[in-house]
Subunit: 292 residues, 4 copies
Amino acid sequence: MKDLVQSVELGVSQRKRVSGLKNELVRVGLAESLCTYVMMVFGLGSVAQVVTGQGEFGQYISINLGFGLGVAMGVHVGGKVSGAHMNAAVSFTMCTFGRLGWKMLPLYVFAQLFGSFLAAATIYGVYYEAIHDYCGGNLTVTGPKATAGIFATYPAPYLSLHAGFIDQVIGTAMLLLCLMALSDQKNKPAAAGSEPVAVGLLVLLIGISLGSNSGYAINPTRDIAPRVFTAIAGWGGDVFRSGNGWWWVPLVAPPIGGILGAGLYKVLVEMHHQPEQKERLVEEFEERLALE
Amino acid sequence: MKDLVQSVELGVSQRKRVSGLKNELVRVGLAESLCTYVMMVFGLGSVAQVVTGQGEFGQYISINLGFGLGVAMGVHVGGKVSGAHMNAAVSFTMCTFGRLGWKMLPLYVFAQLFGSFLAAATIYGVYYEAIHDYCGGNLTVTGPKATAGIFATYPAPYLSLHAGFIDQVIGTAMLLLCLMALSDQKNKPAAAGSEPVAVGLLVLLIGISLGSNSGYAINPTRDIAPRVFTAIAGWGGDVFRSGNGWWWVPLVAPPIGGILGAGLYKVLVEMHHQPEQKERLVEEFEERLALE
Amino acid sequence: MKDLVQSVELGVSQRKRVSGLKNELVRVGLAESLCTYVMMVFGLGSVAQVVTGQGEFGQYISINLGFGLGVAMGVHVGGKVSGAHMNAAVSFTMCTFGRLGWKMLPLYVFAQLFGSFLAAATIYGVYYEAIHDYCGGNLTVTGPKATAGIFATYPAPYLSLHAGFIDQVIGTAMLLLCLMALSDQKNKPAAAGSEPVAVGLLVLLIGISLGSNSGYAINPTRDIAPRVFTAIAGWGGDVFRSGNGWWWVPLVAPPIGGILGAGLYKVLVEMHHQPEQKERLVEEFEERLALE
Amino acid sequence: MKDLVQSVELGVSQRKRVSGLKNELVRVGLAESLCTYVMMVFGLGSVAQVVTGQGEFGQYISINLGFGLGVAMGVHVGGKVSGAHMNAAVSFTMCTFGRLGWKMLPLYVFAQLFGSFLAAATIYGVYYEAIHDYCGGNLTVTGPKATAGIFATYPAPYLSLHAGFIDQVIGTAMLLLCLMALSDQKNKPAAAGSEPVAVGLLVLLIGISLGSNSGYAINPTRDIAPRVFTAIAGWGGDVFRSGNGWWWVPLVAPPIGGILGAGLYKVLVEMHHQPEQKERLVEEFEERLALE
């Protein structure tokens, strides 16, 4: 037994030496960037198709499916390495409730911004001719042939800034409240292995229920990186001026909503979990087995 | 073994002392309120989006998805604590068939009403500007710009009260009949962990098949709380007068339908289950293990 | 141990005495009737909603979902008792390939016809006012306000009888081919517990891919019982004359298609399965464990 | 133990003798042909329905569902026998990364071409009257009543060849990147048994996000076989001339995209997996069990 452990450890240390990257931070950062990239390529792609296809290639529900299933694929891609937050409001909430070290937050935010920006560039590349054919080469943020909404979110014409702020707080609160439930092993969590699809259905649902006011960003890093990309790529400063200077709302409101939603679940449900007798006996039994 | 049980019980009693809420009733009530709230925010939100978006942000099927997936998320949120009935007709049927104590019924009904009312208020807050923009500030129950249907159900113009009553009985009967099957471990139940999605698909299906007559309330607490909210919030007494005084039908018909549907399943399928020999041997083996 | 077995057997025999129905045939027949009823209520209901709602309450895809998810719920309801065929072509194919005794076939067919007929009556009752409001009380099989298509299938105007026959053979062949794969434990079957949803997705898919020629009956008992119901209920003999006497095609073609599809899977895939060495060792190991 | 293995091997050799087909290549080839056939019948059928139904029998999203769920059923049909690639770009990538022997590639490609061609013929047979009714018997590749797009993919009018090439590279890269994640047991793979549906959702998602430029072939064998079929069946040489000679792009770009996407996943995620201590201990424990 002792020999076995030693030889196993030897193998591991060898593998360590040959491994390309020993740095845990780089490992997590790469995974978080890649899963955010995947989610955003699928999400933004679905908007590009609906906008430039003028109803022939999908409708609003295609966008809901694009972001929903995009999130599911993102979770498959980054899942066990970085946790696949793909959303600074999720990372921030996880830090607040002790599920992620605060020291990791800048890395997560940077990796998400990087993946999100790259995805915006990819979708602009893939749909370059479609976008220019649709708008006649005139890249605008508002008007009948506006295309900036393919990349970042903009509020509906009727929406005031403070109502939009509430919209983003509530939307992100519902996201985090349900994410807490989906991962609460003492309640009715998503079945093992089906978490990616469950989270995807949740995002699909938020799009169907809480999307029409301002495009359900509910995610700072999803929104700001493509907005900056469009500012550079030809849409100009209007992407920051449009909607009464809407751009900061998806940055500030989601983290507040995230803490509100996750906190509500904790206070109303999680805090009251009590170990059931049967559960305890099983645990005890397993411990005894382990000790023997 | 005896020592083990004692020490375990000791640990539990300690934990009980530090637990924030010792009251089982409060624990269950909070979970039932929260899951009803979650289901209703998603469900009502999807209707608000379709109505105020005038076809641009989803169609009838979005509402089916909104309530279906909303129910799935509700089951994740309340699942193992309260059972996540979110529907007085379900609670009533569970009491009738001995799966819930009658003493618990008032708590369930009150918690559901509370969550449902709060959800109506939340959706009115989130879509306040959208609703007022859509109807020009004129909150009506009938007419081309009616918005009361975002919150409570109203019958189609052609529907008589007695046909609507039958509609609600049949709809709720199908709900409870299938719920009994989904949880019948001796038949082909929903896979462990996938119950929330299975129940959500069932509600989606009822919306697709039995929804157009009167909006498939099939749930007294889902319907009455938002109706009272709209009466207070500006729609006035018309919410009770409209549709020939429709309001009482979703209160009275669903419990009758629930008992009918669950009863049918019991009489036609469950009563005839017979323990198979292999099953019995397994049971017996487990009993022996438990005794030793 | 011996005492335990005796007491268990005693309990069983007591249960047997109190059980309402001892007859296995009645047990299976009731379950097969009920699951067919459930599937058909949801399926026909979705068509009724689309037809009478004139596009406001769902589109063609709602019907695909209605039958697809309706089949899924039917499998949950009848699954472990009768196998939930809900389709005489499935039962016939199962008999042909030895998975069901031929003696059981009349019972399955009768139970399916009974459930299907009752479902047609239920949907006519639930949508009685909607149908009469839609067609002005004039129940017709063809023409702009035809409503017979809510209940039974009718071919598209361009379709000849022999092309329709091929359409039904191919549709049912695809159904049975995939059903064989979904239940083949030596290949990649549906995950345990997810069979109902997998079969539902298959039926949804057939509706999306092979539905527009003649309404994808692919099921004799699903089609003839509602057709007879409409003949009695007011649509008259036209339900048999319409479409060049279409009515017999969904009776004759599906069993042929079923055997073709299941046979193809057997000849091309199942026959070539070979026990892998590892699999065999596991089996052997389990046998040894069982013997010791 | 030694006796046991010998007797088992003896049994196997006997079974081998009675087995209908001893040739592993034929076994794999038949399964790969059948699953490609199944996927393509469902996929092409959904396009045929949308095109000839003129919006009455489904919309663009039906096609996404047709190919998505068609792929899922294909994986069920061929899954454990051939791996159900159904796509030469997938087979090529698997060879490149050592998951399939290069010697097997021609067999896979031929089997896929055969299944794909047969599916095109089947769908032409099933929808023969629908297609001729729709286009008045005039089989064209372009124009308002074009029907060649039912079978092979054609680029949008605005798309240049080089942009289409990039479109196909990116689309296939996203496919393979996510396929690698879905099967990576050290990350967050699809749950055991749910792989077919997970892969189907991925293809659905690509159709929703990256489909409008050129119809998301992302698969050489899916595209060329039906194209050749249409050339023979009456559409003529235009199927190769149309879209500036588009036909070679879905042949050349997908394998490049496949290697790019799978390579990205390997370099950014898979290479950095490290065995965790707990995992190692479990492995070691299992090894000990196996040795004893």
